[in-house]
Symmetry: C2
Subunit: 496 residues, 2 copies
Amino acid sequence: MSVSVTAYDDLMAFQRETEALAQVMGRLGWDQETVMPRGAAQQRAEEMGALEGVLHRRRTDPRIGDWLAGIDAGALDDVGRAQLRHIRRSYQRATRLPDTLSAELARITSRAQGIWAEARAAGDVAHFLPTLAEVVRLKREEAAALAQGGDLYDALLDDYEPGATAAGLGAMFDRMRPRLVELRERVMGAATPPAALHGTFPAAGQMAVAHQIATHFGYDWRHGRLDHSVHPFTSGSGADVRITTRVDEAEPLGCLYSTLHEVGHGAYEQGIAPDYALSPLGNGVSMGVHESQSRIYENQLGRSRAFCGWLHGRMADTFGDAGAVGADAFYGAVNRVHAGYIRTEADEVHYNLHIMLRFDLERALIAGTLEVADLEEAWNTRFAHDFGVAVDTPAHGVLQDVHWSVGLFGYFPTYTLGNVYAGCLNLALRAAVPTLDADLARGDAGPATAWLRENVQRHGGLYEPAEVIERACGFAPHEGPLLDYLDAKFGALYGV
Amino acid sequence: MSVSVTAYDDLMAFQRETEALAQVMGRLGWDQETVMPRGAAQQRAEEMGALEGVLHRRRTDPRIGDWLAGIDAGALDDVGRAQLRHIRRSYQRATRLPDTLSAELARITSRAQGIWAEARAAGDVAHFLPTLAEVVRLKREEAAALAQGGDLYDALLDDYEPGATAAGLGAMFDRMRPRLVELRERVMGAATPPAALHGTFPAAGQMAVAHQIATHFGYDWRHGRLDHSVHPFTSGSGADVRITTRVDEAEPLGCLYSTLHEVGHGAYEQGIAPDYALSPLGNGVSMGVHESQSRIYENQLGRSRAFCGWLHGRMADTFGDAGAVGADAFYGAVNRVHAGYIRTEADEVHYNLHIMLRFDLERALIAGTLEVADLEEAWNTRFAHDFGVAVDTPAHGVLQDVHWSVGLFGYFPTYTLGNVYAGCLNLALRAAVPTLDADLARGDAGPATAWLRENVQRHGGLYEPAEVIERACGFAPHEGPLLDYLDAKFGALYGV
């Protein structure tokens, strides 16, 4: 065994323990949001802080640098080189940040989330602004340390979407926005829009249908489970990938489509080649690709007319007429476009407009061309322009999302990037599986999930994000397929 | 601030992180036994192994030795000195064990548990013996490393019950055994023994009554929860102390009294002074004292005639006549003495005889005076003598308990020590709270739990185990009160 192979093996063994400990952190997060006793929050923060300290020391351990220097990458196969690429990136990021900055960021953001929640509840933007200004100041410092002279926002974005740039995303968003605003206006002017569901839908019935949906989309219960939480999420990698959903007895579609969204995230993690488990390749490769899976499951597949036919049958079995007479009316209700302030409640037509607004504002904050003091006004002006209504209260505007309070700058655009990727994958999938709609109409998502597993999910972190989409689709990802899909679907549904 | 105080503060800050990480390990254990997806077992073992590695490195970190050497204990108060006593003991034990031995023990015992389970299922003692011999060999090595020339068994016992000795326990057990055998024979010869409950008791009803019992005994739901598991257990310290129980629809008393047993363990952890949280004083001081709390809740309080009157009412509310007509018959069913092979199903009269058998055998194995090859015969001979029946199959005999397969030698006697302590505490509690039976008859365990919290639970690890019992009772603990209690209770109930 050569010296370089020994260094590689040692590095990978060390990394495997780190990945296992990172999984433990994920378990604590799951526990906190689902089953933890209410009075345990403060102690839990300390438990997670202690584990975070362990992880930080491991991620900045100088032995990683020594091992990396001692490896002859030429002696490795593709998988080995991809592992090294991830480890090198992560080590470089971790060691470029001064410990004091990491600690200060952790301290401020853990406090800021509480202050943001207070400000949102009170509708008091001013209460949050000094803290937000502090977060922005520290994130700019972080970006400067990471960017080494490059673009500040790109340095933050790189943590969520390696290879993406603000310039590239900005140009794409600028191409998308006029078409989306135009589609929105057409749809909102339709003469006979579909109606929402009405009725009461007992929680047990919603969870039973949610279980059926997950099963039909191939979610693996031997390596997962479905629970309630306030905000739905997916947690864990490898052999233990759990999803959650929320339940509102007046509105069942939130539960069902949140489930299907998380099934997409979960199927991605469950679909990664088992050989990659507890290695840097054993997680979804980026937020954008992750979101492409949740979005294609939720929207292009789950909100299709074909699948809605099958789902309407399950709703009728469970809830009688389900508040929508007939499968067509149910399909309309599932895809109802409605003006709304809240990103997380937005339909497919509005959703990306919410993201572009945030992207432009946070990019300006990090660039220093927008002051925190001017943020609310900038938000409200832009919202009125893109959505045609005025923000009525800060909880419906600049205070609605938790992201900025916890330091997530550069994260928002990956949602729309995920939608764009989902549009591309949908095009390629339908070409590869001509029976798709007939399958979905029977509730059989097997061929769709098999294609996604084979072409996207199993690769984990093996390829760069854009590369995995291009390999699956046979073309470089772009916004066209998503916009065409939205035009066709909502034009037909709304008769506009 | 003096140098010694700085060393103390540094040591305690380091220790606090270790305690927080130990709590994380507890969360993983809870998760594994209650909610973990079945297919996640192998990955979970690796996650726990990685965390165990972190804990081991912290517990043997040479800085602990430096800090301990730098502290002037004379400058500390009682609490500080007690903290140091725990840290010093734990550091000494951890550093006396060679890393290779710890690793080998971890490897063998994790394998041995599976082999034991196979052997038990197949009734094949020979399948388990080579592995058990290996475990015994390693435990003797461990004991030799720890004992430094002292008694081998004492060195193992010390991990569970600091200050106890095999000689002292052995002498006490030898005093107890003739009286227990004699009581057992009297009771089993009774003319009209009480009858068991008959009927079907739906799981939801059992869990509802179990919740009521826990609530009436002061279990704090803000800092805990109750779930199902195959084997009931308590997990966690400080602000997050969870309990589990099991449910058999044909036999509700197992669920209810397992719950009350775990409520005793849980109340102890929840009752420790909050100042001690995440410090060495923030856990129950020993297995024996822990078991004293679970046993007095379960038996001296929970199986009393007074509390059974209240509980019979809840059973009747939930299940109709509850299979026992009248509170007296219910009290009889709760305290029914029955010959049985299985320790965990044993009544108060038989239970300690099960322990003494195991104590004598494991002490001989560690001393080297009994060979593993002769273990089954020794078990069966002793069982026939003490219980008056022959073991019919190894799963009912030498293969029934998991303990030895996972390396728990020196643990069994703490169960009976807990019973002895519970007997002492019951005597003192009844003297201090003359209204106890009237309170329990109303389902009010408040005065009892308040006395136990004040006199035992809140101290956590502040005093040595026997010392905390002596302080609570006003006399040195001994077996007399337990034996007198058993004689009086079962003599009256069985009319013998």
